[in-house]
């Protein structure tokens, strides 16, 4: 197991998440894509933590905070989506353009 293979894995994971977030119209799919990207970032941090840092707790603290943040974010995101659905009867990202200039 090397740093390069871990970084490559995280890159693939990030690109998949990005693709999902940009290409899916369903806001829940977009949320899943964003979660994937966060996990890619966490994986990145853990990889660097394993190979190039003397004190292994540094990276672990980072990742734990990211997981906590992600949980909170999901809660907020899902409640926004629910409210959107209630008021607009849709969660299609292309139809929700009320804030355009």
């Amino acid at each position: 197991m090397s740093l390069e293979s871990l970084l490559l894995l995280s890159l693939v994971l990030f690109c998949l998440g990005l693709f999902a977030a940009l290409s899916h119209r369903n806001l829940i799919a977009v949320l899943i894509g964003i979660e994937l990207m966060m996990n890619a970032a966490s994986l990145n941090l853990m990889a660097f933590n394993r190979f190039s840092v003397t004190d292994p707790t540094t990276g672990q603290v980072f990742v734990l905070i990211i997981i906590g943040l992600a949980a909170a974010e999901v809660a907020i995101f899902l409640s926004i989506i629910l409210n959107l659905y209630r008021t607009h009867r849709t969660i299609d990202a292309e139809e929700l353009t009320e804030l355009h200039g």
């Binding site: 977030a21 119209r25 292309e94 353009t97 355009h100």
Partner: protein, 615 residues
Amino acid sequence: MTDSLSLILATTFAPFGAFVLAILLLMRQPRVAQLIVIAGGALSLAGAVSLLANGPVDPLRYLWFVSGDIQLRFGFILDGLSLMFGVAVALITLCVMVYSLGYMGHDPDKTRYFAMLALFEWAMLSFVYAVDLLQSFIFWELVGLASFFLIGFWYEKPSATAAAKKAFLMTRVGDVGLFIGVLMVLQVAGHFDIPALLAVDNGLVQQAAPATLTAITLLIFVGIVGKSAQFPLHTWLPDAMEGPTPVSALLHSATMVAAGVYLMARLHPLFMGSETTLGIILIIASITTLLAATMAMVATDIKRVLAFSSISQLGFMLLGLAAGSLFAGVFHLITHALFKALLFLCSGLFIHHFETNEMEQIGRAGGRRLRFATAGLLVGGAALAGIPPLGGFFSKEEIFAALGHDGVTLFSVVALLAAFLTAYYTFRMIFLVTRPAQIETEETHAHAEHGRAEPWSMALPVALLVVGAAIAGFWGEQIAAGLGIDMGHHTLASMAPALAVVAVGVLLAWVDFGRQGAARTGFIARVPALERLFTNGWYVDAFYDAVIVRITTLVATLMHAIEVKFIDGNFDRLGRGVLGLGSGSTRIQNGWVQFYGGWAVILVGVAAVYFSMGG
């Protein structure tokens, strides 16, 4: 010194104060306004007369501002010329103001009329007394402005506004020349002070090279041509008849057109310094005096006859001045002012009564029953024709003497011919009005039943001017003394040719128009081509319409096209471009979150690649 100062301030600023009061406060009280204006005019006349009585004093000068080496002054020149002419201006303006009480009595816009008369008087008096050439120019333009307002007084009439614009524009053509001339004076002399410019030692004549002096005097003369309605800028004056008749009286006698002649008299030494200019003035004045006299021979409108005669007489004055006699020109200027004002006011009596300008109609309607107006017309006409011992005779005699002095025979002949034509057309006018073929009976004219034809306000000025026109000829000595010139004495033999041509002119008019069973057409009608030429004013106006107006219109159309197509078009294109840019850029903000996100990723990616390559 202070005494003259307060007098001159009263003289010039009384009409100005009346103008300001009337125009600002009294628009709704025409009776008060006209009284105030007349009071201003009377005060002004009193001031001018007491100034004249005090005699000439040194010029008063007050610094206005300094710019570099140039000092601009306002002030008053109080020599014989300005004192005498100032009195003439104030007197005739007051006569016209009083006369207007009757003539304009029913006009709803009296306040504006009287205010403009006051403005006119202020401008003219300030011009007459101006000590500084630039000050002269400023008031010269104000005179033009006031006459523009008065000619176009009845602004509902399109012909009146057209005439006002024509007068303004044509005099403006001359004023451009005058202004360049004034600036050249500044360039050569470095100041505008008239007495210093005219000084015998180290005046402008000594300072300027002969060619420069010729250029300056010619440019100033261009201004005079415009203002005094000389050929080829004379065509505005007959059209200026569109104004009320008292205004014509004022315009033609003491103000406006007289300003040009006065300016030449004022700057006479400069003109005497350039032979070329004098020659050109003699030629232009000769053309004008003959041209206008021929036009007066065929005009049927009484005011137009008088207008053409004014042009002709102004030419006469310039002939006298250019022949070297300041006295002859100024003398004729003053006598002409009196009898021409008289003639216009008399014609106003006829016009007011019969409500027509056509001499034939006035005659048929019983013109001669207006005894008072007829008497005035006779005296004024005789003075204009040059019948002794009335005003015009003596002053014309001076001009003949001046012209014949150096044996300038061609111009003497021209002047005699013009005098003959003057006598002819004047008496043609008188006979047409007073000796018609038949007179309509009294009943057909309900208007004539009003008892006295003229109210006192109209009769009084006419009576005053009758006396003035009759005795002005005997003031020659005093005027000459006022100018500091010795008046020559003329023998009967030297007067004979002038007397002879006048007699022939009157006789011919009698044969053509006056005697019982006369043909009542001029001898000129036997040559129809000539008659057409005269009636159409030698086609000068037609020429202007065909050439100058057309060229101007063409240029204006072209400029309009350039403006619309090129300048406006490009600004429009610029505007449309900005608009397009804006609406194009709003399309980017479509509200699609993923679109924004995609672009963010792309841009961050580009930046990352850029920085990873080492900036």
